[in-house]
Symmetry: C3
Subunit: 326 residues, 3 copies
Amino acid sequence: MNGFDGYPHVIYAQQFSRRWLEEDLFPLARQMKPIGDQGGCDMLRGKRAFSWFYQASTRTAVSLAMAMELLGGRVVFSTENAREFSSASKGETLIDTIRVLNRLRPDVIFLRYDREIGAEIAAHVSKASIISAGDRQPNDEPKSPYSGQHPTQGNLDVFTVVERFGQIDGLKIAMVGDLINGRTVRSLSYHLGKFRGVEIYYVSPPNARMRDDVKDYLCRHNIRFTESADLREVAPKVNVIYQTRTQKECGTNFDRNDHNLGYFVVDQGILDLMKKDAIIMHPLPRVDEITPEVDDDPRAVYLTDQIDCGLYTRMALLKMILAPKV
Amino acid sequence: MNGFDGYPHVIYAQQFSRRWLEEDLFPLARQMKPIGDQGGCDMLRGKRAFSWFYQASTRTAVSLAMAMELLGGRVVFSTENAREFSSASKGETLIDTIRVLNRLRPDVIFLRYDREIGAEIAAHVSKASIISAGDRQPNDEPKSPYSGQHPTQGNLDVFTVVERFGQIDGLKIAMVGDLINGRTVRSLSYHLGKFRGVEIYYVSPPNARMRDDVKDYLCRHNIRFTESADLREVAPKVNVIYQTRTQKECGTNFDRNDHNLGYFVVDQGILDLMKKDAIIMHPLPRVDEITPEVDDDPRAVYLTDQIDCGLYTRMALLKMILAPKV
Amino acid sequence: MNGFDGYPHVIYAQQFSRRWLEEDLFPLARQMKPIGDQGGCDMLRGKRAFSWFYQASTRTAVSLAMAMELLGGRVVFSTENAREFSSASKGETLIDTIRVLNRLRPDVIFLRYDREIGAEIAAHVSKASIISAGDRQPNDEPKSPYSGQHPTQGNLDVFTVVERFGQIDGLKIAMVGDLINGRTVRSLSYHLGKFRGVEIYYVSPPNARMRDDVKDYLCRHNIRFTESADLREVAPKVNVIYQTRTQKECGTNFDRNDHNLGYFVVDQGILDLMKKDAIIMHPLPRVDEITPEVDDDPRAVYLTDQIDCGLYTRMALLKMILAPKV
């Protein structure tokens, strides 16, 4: 709630202090579990959302819709085709669109934009709260420290870790895959920078390494990170393996099975190397970068706890923004 | 209700016994008419659905949505673009998708899948009820007796017949069109196999004949069937003409007006040959296989009673699955 | 309310008399403002809409959805892909679709059709109210005085003018852009024909002039109009500049910056020529035909008052159609 004084938007991970995460978001998210278990509540009755996606992200859209629903709110209008459909062929600007939507009096707009800095731009002109459902991954150098993020994913990812380990300080976390373009690993890195003694292992092929803006941020926050091209070396050392898919639609492409490049798949072999109480996360969709045999391992949380944590953190955010005093 | 003990899914026609149809589904469907007439009721208040279509079937989607609505339930999220939008270009598996959706706690998922056996696979991993809105028609030999079906269509089709004739035993039913690929005629055939003394006439060009798995099923259930290529010969004999469109998107294509192939159009000429109290059905959309002059004939039910029966049977299914004790 | 005796549809501007606009629609629309300010009301509780768009018009769709929502009603099913998805490749007729939708008992259908006369055809077969969200612009001569219209846009446009000036009689109104194809300028012209002493300036390139059917209508109603190709000449004279975009998708294309053709952009230069209390309107989306510097001028209403007036007039229409006695 404190994170929203005067700025009721969720745009980028750097908005949120460690204190806010630990004292506001996480406790409130824990309260959401019993609410979900009992089928919901009424605290956001009368609150209205637009779900306005310029690029499909159906998993995020349905998670946000259910979060609203479980709190008694309503998504009044929803589109995943905003890019194709809501403009002349030359394109109405995002600013115009957000202004128009605002006049229709939504309380919150879930915005997924397919170019950079969309959520930040929208927040400048929107009285309704903007909850970013992701900016497009930057193919080139990011225009802003805030771009190419997926802040609610970052929130739920750190909450998943905290719920499993009780804390983040001192943990070792591997991020694997297309690190140069991945939104989720950027947001997660920015979140981890708030904690102490965290050690990050970036595992990727050479052409998909994490960008400098994130590394600079980590340096400024005294977070150690190492780069590797071999998950087999990293797996025994870490508490969390955060696997991501290859961002084919952004052009970075590598063959997971080309072991000349390195080792980037989570499979039985990696399971055998991992700590007994480590966890495997993935923002989904998972394609072939985690083999199916891994799913039933108790350390695999990407289809279970991580989804739950997504629902609860999004419910908590909505409650903070739309019904802070309740 | 009995049909759902331990298996709260609607996947294929063979699930449902004749007794269940006559003693559970049909009576409950009849109770839905006055509920619809009075504008709805609250018996499914608080119940939530996802409508997850990998292939468009807007008529089924809107019918299921209104069924939920009339009972006080809610479709929280709806897509007809699940194929295009909810996966990486290589494709998230249906199993992963259903698992993820389940964590968001819907009570029911309306699933239309564009490949075979989707609903069956989904039911294996879903705690939420799966109501199949259709599997893709099998272009080749079906993988399973359960594949290529549209079970709620089968339910509503037999209900339409029962409401008109009081029974199905002893009736003569013609199915016309693309029988090799049509989902609806497969589900209808499976349903008819539960009854006695039914006689089926399959009217199609030679390359679009009903498949062997259905014919074997009918043989095992002592249902007589005849194959014909001329509706003019069949029309005077039957109580029901069940017309279907050519499934162009599945490759089987024939010119309705090429009478060298046979006669497959329902027009004034067929009306003149039909029994006075016979009926004409069609799962829709109807294109040119029923000529417009037929619409006003009292025997044409495809735009009237059949749609009503669809709404009532889907309401009845939802009530059975989601509020059995009410 | 009077406008709907026996014909509960909103199809074309000519349906509505001046008296109905001034004594019924506008006063009721004014009452909608405080309802919106307080977050809505319940007067349409239990009323259900389908939003059935054959062509995207997301702005209109979301405005109608919020109008329903603010009055306590519900859009039960919504699609902007009706063309692509709800039919066989040859295409189910609109008439069949509307009949099928009617059997599902909606109270109102918001229909955006991509060919001419769709709303009129739908109204003939629909018991549910049809509110047209626009017919396709006629590329050729219109088939009907009712075609190629966007009646709710016409309503909100005249309401915007009345709210600003207190009246329409005696005003001078410029319409700029692609007048040969634009739906909104047709509906607006038909509306203005109901008033006295109105003077219209049509500003367009020679190949995009307003069509004869509208001009004939204006002549019959004693409305003077002038054609020009230079907004700079017209701007000092008018109370309203109604700018529209080039309808690229209809083939009429002209370069706004080609001043050999004329002057068709609203920019600072035009602002400097305009009367102090004139207003600038646009149905949106705005692309480059109004430059961004214009937005902050108090005379620019296209992102502010005009959107509000759209919401209020649509709420008023819904109330009249669905809850006339409340």
